[in-house]
C-alpha cells in the first residue's frame, strides 16, 4: 500500500511541476530549461531553514517562494528578451550556474553529499506523518496550485499570455507589455515549482544536486506534451502516465539492465510521434506548433 502511496505522492509533486510548466510553456510559450533547477532552489532553501533553524512547513515554504522568485526574476531579466530558441539556451546557462551552486556552495547545500536528515513536514507544530497523511497533504496543495492556475488563466491574464505566445508583435501593438507579462508568468510558475520542491524535500528527506539536473526538466516537458499543453486534466494525466508506466515495467519482468535506456528511448519516440500525430497531447487544448 505504501508503495502506491509513494507513487501517488510523486505524481502529485510532478503534477505541480507540470502545471507550472504548462503556465510557462503551454500558455506563455516559454521553453524553460531551468525548471528542475528552480525546483531545486525551492527544495534546498526550504530544507536549509528546516534543518538549520528547525522551521515548520509554512515558513519554510515562504522562504522557498522568496528565494525561487528572486532567482526566477533574475533569470527572466536576462532571458525573456531572447528569441524563442535562445530562451532555451539562456535557461540552459542559468541551469548550469544553479547546479554549480548546488554542488559547490557547501555551507548551505553540503555540496555533492547533499542535505540529509530533513525532518518530516510539520504544520504549526503538528507533524504530518510520511505515507498516507503526507499524500493527503500533497493532494490538497496540488489541488490548490491547480485552482490558482485555473483562476489565473481563465481571466484575461490567460488570454494575454496566449496572445503573446501566438504573436508577440501583435500582442505588443494591442498594448500588452510582452517582457513584463513573460517575467510575471515565469516568476509565478517558478513559485509553483518551489512549492513542489519543498514537498519533494519533505518526501525524500534528502536532497542532492543530481536530482535537479536537466533530464528532470526533459521529463516534465514529456509529461506536459503527453498530457497536453493548455488545460488541467493533461497536467495530471501526463505525470501519472510517466510515473506509472516505468513502475509497471518492473512488474512485467522488464527490469533487466538497460531498462532505463529503453524507457528514455521510448520518451524520445513518444515526443516525435506526439509532435507528428497529436501535438495537443491527450487532453490539451493547444497544439504545439
Amino acid at each position: 500500500m505504501g508503495y502506491l502511496v509513494t507513487l501517488l505522492t510523486i505524481i502529485c509533486i510532478y503534477t505541480m511541476l507540470t502545471a507550472s510548466m504548462d503556465l510557462i510553456l503551454g500558455y506563455a510559450g516559454l521553453f524553460s530549461f531551468v525548471h528542475a533547477a528552480l525546483c531545486g532552489v525551492g527544495a534546498y532553501s526550504a530544507a536549509f531553514v528546516m534543518l538549520k533553524l528547525g522551521w515548520g512547513f509554512v515558513p519554510s515554504a515562504l522562504v522557498a517562494f522568496a528565494a525561487t522568485a528572486l532567482v526566477a526574476q533574475a533569470t527572466a531579466m536576462i532571458t525573456v528578451r531572447l528569441d524563442e530558441h535562445y530562451f532555451i539556451l539562456g535557461t540552459f546557462c542559468v541551469g548550469n550556474v544553479i547546479l554549480s551552486i548546488f554542488e559547490n556552495w557547501t555551507d548551505v547545500t553540503n555540496g555533492t553529499s547533499g542535505l540529509y536528515g530533513i525532518p518530516v513536514a510539520s504544520l504549526f507544530g503538528w507533524t504530518i506523518a510520511p505515507g498516507a497523511p503526507y499524500l493527503v497533504f500533497c493532494v490538497a496543495l496540488t489541488a490548490m496550485v491547480l485552482a490558482v492556475k485555473w483562476r489565473l488563466v481563465s481571466a484575461p491574464f490567460g488570454i494575454a499570455l496566449q496572445a503573446i505566445r501566438e504573436d508577440e508583435i501583435v500582442a505588443a501593438v494591442l498594448g500588452h507589455h510582452v517582457r513584463h507579462v513573460r517575467t510575471v508568468v515565469f516568476v509565478i510558475g517558478a513559485a509553483m515549482t518551489a512549492l513542489a520542491g519543498v514537498l519533494l524535500a519533505c518526501y525524500l528527506r534528502y536532497l542532492d544536486p543530481t536530482s535537479f539536473d536537466f533530464p528532470f526538466t526533459i521529463l516534465i516537458w514529456a509529461a506536459l506534451f503527453v498530457g497536453g499543453s493548455v488545460g488541467t486534466v493533461g497536467t495530471v494525466v501526463g505525470p501519472a502516465i510517466l510515473v506509472l508506466f516505468p513502475e509497471a515495467l518492473r512488474f512485467v519482468g522488464l527490469s533487466g539492465p538497460h531498462v532505463a535506456n529503453v524507457q528514455q528511448a521510448l520518451y524520445g519516440i513518444l515526443l516525435i510521434l506526439l509532435m507528428m500525430f497529436r501535438p495537443q497531447g491527450f487532453f490539451g487544448h493547444h497544439s504545439v506548433r
Binding site: I10, G111, D208, S255
Partner: protein, 368 residues
Amino acid sequence: MKIMTGSGIALCVVAALSTTTIAAAEDTTPIKIGLSQIASGVAADYWSRQVNKPALLAIDDANKNGGVNGRKVVGILEDNQGLATTGAAVAHKLIEIDHVNMIFVAPTPAVLATLPIAETAEVPVISTSISPKVAQSPWGALAQPPADRQGEAYAKFVIAHHFQRVADLTGQSDSDTIASNAFKSALTKAGIKIVDAETYEVNAQDFTAQLTKIRASNPDCFLIQSLSGATYGFILKQMAQLGFRPPTILTYYQIADPQTRKLAGDLVDGVYFIEIPVDPEWNARVFRPRMGYDADGNGALAYDAIALYLDAYAKSGTDDPKKIRETMLNYQGYKGAVGAWGYNGQPVTQVQYRVSRMKPGGGTEVVP
C-alpha cells in the same frame, strides 16, 4: 550483455513467482535480498560488472550450497538510476511489494533516500557506498571503507614516501570530495604542502584547464581521484599531451579497469593506486570462470557483503532482522573474497586498503 538480460529476466520471473507463493509454510519461504542499484546511465556497464553481477553471484553460490538453513535465496534487482527520487520509489517497492529481508543499495543519493524508509520499515540496509551517514543509522551497515578512510590511506602513502609537494585532482562526487578533504587535512597535520588542488565535473572529458594549473605548480606527487577508469584514461592522456608527468602518480583502484589502458596505453605504467585487496585464489576459482573477467575491490566487496550477511543469517538462527544484523556486525573469522575481514562490532567494514602499482605491459603488482 545478453547473458545479463537473460538472468535479469529469469530473476524477475523467479521473484514474481515467489511473490505469488508467499503464503506457503514459513520455513520454505525464500530469503529475499533487494538490490537497489544502478542498471542504466553512464555508469551502468561498470556497475553491472563490479556490483550487480558479483552480488547476484553471491546469492547464486549461497543457493548452490543449499541456501540459508535450507531456504532459497532470491535476489531482486531494481534500477535506481543513481537518483534519490527513483531510489525512494525502489525502496518502497522492495519493502512493501517484495517484502525483502535486506536491501543492498548504492550509490549515495539512492542510499540516503532509502535509509529513512528502511528505518521506518525496520529493514536492514547494507551499502557499498562510502557515505558515513549509513553507519550512523541503526539499520545501516557499510560494506566499504568510508571515504575518509580512503583519504587517510592516500595520506599514509604520501607521508611514508616523504613527498613534499603534493597536488590533488578530484571529481565532483560525494566520495571523492570526502576522501580529498580527509587527505588534505591529514597532510596539513603532517606538515606536507599541497601545492594545488583542482576539481572537475564527474562526466567531464576535458581536464586540460585543471592539468595546466597543476603542471604550473610542479608537484612531486599527484593524487588523482575518480570513480571511472575512462576518466583516468582521459586524464593520463591529457597530462602527456601537456608534457606533464610528475614523478609519482597516486590513484584509486578504478585505474585497473581495462578502460584506462585502452585509452591511455602505456601511460598507466607505474601509476600507484590504493585498493581493496582481492583474494586472487577466490577470483581464479569463483569469479573469473563464471564472469569471464576479474573482480576489482568493488566486485569482491559486493560479493562479500551479500555472502557475509547470508552467513550471519544462517548463524543467527532467527528471522529477526535486528538480531541478524547484530550477528553480522559481530561475526568473527569470516573468510571472503577480500580475505579475512569483518565488521568487528561496528557498522563499518574493517577492510584495509593496500598500495599497488600498474605493471608495465599490463597487470598490477602489490607494493610492499
